[in-house]
Symmetry: C2
Subunit: 352 residues, 2 copies
Amino acid sequence: VTNETLPPGTLMAAELAEQPEVLGRLVARHAADRELVRAIVPRAHAGTVLLARGSSDNVAVYGRYLIEMASRRPAGLAAPSVHTRYQADVDYAGYLVVALSQSGATPEVVETAAAMRRAGAVVIGIANEPGSPLTEVCDLSLLTEAGPELGVPATKTVTAQMLAVAAIAGAYDSELVAAADLAALPGAVTSLLADSGPPGASGPAEAVAGRWADARRLVVTGRGLAYAAALETALKIKETAQVHAEGLSSADLLHGPIAALDSRLPVLLVSGGERFAADETALTARLSAEGVPFAVCGSGPDAELPLPAGSSEITAPILAVVRGQQFALASSLRRGLNPDAPAGLSKVTATH
Amino acid sequence: VTNETLPPGTLMAAELAEQPEVLGRLVARHAADRELVRAIVPRAHAGTVLLARGSSDNVAVYGRYLIEMASRRPAGLAAPSVHTRYQADVDYAGYLVVALSQSGATPEVVETAAAMRRAGAVVIGIANEPGSPLTEVCDLSLLTEAGPELGVPATKTVTAQMLAVAAIAGAYDSELVAAADLAALPGAVTSLLADSGPPGASGPAEAVAGRWADARRLVVTGRGLAYAAALETALKIKETAQVHAEGLSSADLLHGPIAALDSRLPVLLVSGGERFAADETALTARLSAEGVPFAVCGSGPDAELPLPAGSSEITAPILAVVRGQQFALASSLRRGLNPDAPAGLSKVTATH
């Protein structure tokens, strides 16, 4: 069975549906993972660097916020080319490096992780399967064990990576990353999946996809932890629906780039919750005034892509990623595409 | 005299033309600035954090690469919301923070810089004028002294900020950031400006702008230090030409997002020079094969936006930013817009 012989979206929908089970396994392992991390992190912690590419890069953005807040030392994203192209000799003593690769085989991630470890870092690898090259160059591997991902867009491995990152943050601050919040996550994902998902279904994601069926471009925006979910949603739409979707920080969107928006460029706002309420009200007021169509993903009363009320700040971005997956799936099918095999799509080569 | 009463592009062209003089002043100050920085940077250097918004954020990306390579300790970009929205109590002992704000008055940058200093960081502020709020919360201010910027798009202040960042990197490694390379920069900028710039002129930037006059979208891509120039060029085009331009790492572009490209979405590649030659050949071969129009900004023989041969790796991104400014100016004028006052543009509100 290849991706092309199944009805479009079959694999992506099936892999979305596996998420409660995959996340449930990681929640069950959370306390044990936290202790494994505690045993190896640097005592005199200089900072954290997250190393990734593609979808994993968006998980790294989530980790950059969460681990900085939990560890109370600065965190940032690696620029692998400093090592792989400029061959700079950077000292990583005192650093925790979190290297993310679904396959565990992305050559640049594996090579850079190994170099950072030689330069003094403690390296935690997050990969999907045991025995991959990444696991061989790390001090500790946290496997997401989400099973093979057959659809081309990464879905269940992304949310699983986010939970693995939460285990690292939980090692530093088990109050910020509370076990009770994580325990509620698989059930919350089940409730989201119940209102949408299977090809042909009609839920909130399908409704927004229908409203914006003609959009060739899209902005997805958010701040803080929600920024990671916005970036991941933009990437998923780009990969599956041939929409030129761009993820932007809503702090930046309010300045320069808003001038380039117009009524044909809808904006999806991933809410960051209560802390960002004033920012989000200012943004949506401005979008309304300018005639820019928008929709909100969040737990507020006006959210067209609703999240369960009472979601924690830590788990809400994971739920928002699931909503983004549903929206990408619905947008792809609505356009007559097959999200399971976007590489096989014939490209639109316009003739002007 | 307001921006609206002058012929379109008058201010932007005039401010581009001031750059050799502005940069010349900073080059003359370079050795002195380097010593001021050396006197205050942390002895036990844990890492560097760059703090910025908007155009300054793209300069921060340049600084992130350059200071990491020069200081040989990790560098990264701040996420101000960790402080301003989440109120996390992060320890900055051993950190150098470089805070960038053209006005020196961006509230979030000033507030976050002050908090990081209270939390143990040594803070260097880069602003355009003395006496701004940012200079009051820093251990050291490096002023760009580019004079008032009357056009709305930041131009001369951006390239000046890049040179100020180079002075910080030079404090750590005066071989990597060589005085002779910097000394050649103002003359190289003069040579670029000579072939283009004044409204109505016809140089390489005008030629590419003419070729892509109908494009509503654009991707600008690069890797390493050139990535910063790609991001800044995308922002400038977005601000001035109402083109939905997106800056992307060319490492990422080669994976997922390339599927969303087509013949109506041109790609501008900012070359990173010799170290990236293999990457860039692979990318342009792929773009050619897919029928995606592209142009290169660099010092190679095929560059439609040429840079002087023999530009150093450190100054080439500054020259590429100047080419990007020329391209944005030409694209704006070509579309009948006024780049000096984009906020005054009536928005395109389509009626379907």
